[in-house]
């Protein structure tokens, strides 16, 4: 295995890891119109990118080890280490969905009796009733959390706004 081939392998793994992270970010951008095909492709990449980037990181590290043995010049060694660190970082970034960090969905929402909450009479609420259980979700808080995983009566629901 030559240095050139190892460098190529390493570059390909960096490119694959970068595309895995960047492509969904580019497509699923808040003020960008999305077509159905590119969205489907982006979601597919999103689902498999944790595995893809781990493979890229393993390949990059293996290539780095072999390259280090063959390459005596310090500057190229440092560059190779830096680049491999980037692949490892991308493997970590692939596990992060920025939307899930930004928007704090509610997994265990808490509720109070209608008489005990401080809401103005003209506050808008989304309301459901299942059996005898009636629930209200104020829009001013739901427009921030967007998703509340809840159980109303005996029924699991997800309230969204």
């Amino acid at each position: 295995m030559t240095r050139r081939r190892l460098a190529l392998i390493w570059l390909l793994s960096l490119a694959a890891a970068f595309l895995s992270v960047a492509y969904p970010l580019y497509v699923i951008w808040p003020f960008r119109a999305q077509g159905p095909r590119e969205l489907a492709a982006a979601l597919l990449v999103l689902r498999f990118r944790p595995a893809i980037t781990v493979i890229c990181a393993v390949v990059a590290i293996a290539a780095l080890v072999l390259y280090w043995r063959l390459q005596k010049r310090l500057v190229w060694r440092i560059l190779a280490v830096f680049g491999t660190a980037c692949v490892a970082l991308l493997a970590f970034a692939a596990r992060v969905n920025i939307y899930e960090l930004m928007f704090h969905h509610l997994d265990h929402p808490e509720f109070a009796a209608a008489d005990h909450v401080k809401l103005a009479n003209d506050e808008k609420v989304i309301v459901v009733k299942i059996g005898s259980a009636a629930r209200a979700y104020p829009i001013r808080s739901m427009s921030y959390h967007h998703v509340a995983n809840d159980v109303v009566g005996q029924t699991a629901i997800v309230a969204t706004y």
């Binding site: 003020f31 939307y99 009796a113 959390h145």
Partner: protein
Amino acid sequence: MAGLRLTFHLAGINNQNFLMRDEETGSYWQQISGVAISGPLKGQHLTLVESDELLFATWKAEEPHGTVLKDVAAFTRDYAPKDWDKEMKRVRTVINFPERGMKARDLILGIQAAGASRAFLYDQVVKEKLVKDRVGAEPVLLVLSADGQSVRAFRDRIPGVHGAPDFYRLAANKPGALFMDASTGGEWNFQGCAVSGSAKGTCLERVPMLKDYWFDWRNYNPTTTIYGR
């Protein structure tokens, strides 16, 4: 779904309607339709739970023993201000359907029934207070609450009564009654239940209705018609 209780997170955005991801299978779901568009559960539909958007006082009067979502202290400073909907009107959209004079952020009440979809301009419903119309072959009735903002939709047929009722709005708000029908002589409340007349105790069938912006409704209902246009 598939024997699993699913836990959802907001995971992305698709033309300004958000995507959810469930923790259990990693499938992605479109918020407006409740359909899984990617992942192991692709094609599955979540069951829509009947809901309303009401003013708090109106809801509390109907459900005095109901419970309300508590604020999460760590995030209250980021919650929307009261006039957030006025601010949202100024936010640009990435898609637009300027048909029949509609603007992207016109607020509509959308109904899907009998294979058809129809949009009712919210301001128009508020102005008319009681709207009788059809969505496809389905007769519908939209009723404005006494609070002047909350709206519900019902099937424009009285269960057990033959023929089309002739609903009309009461000239003045009467406690507990908003509209009447000529066929049973009954008065009806905002919950769609008769409080007097021969149909007293009968309730109209609710019709699911979505309050949405025009651009979003039209994007997912490409053949929608518009009331009054």
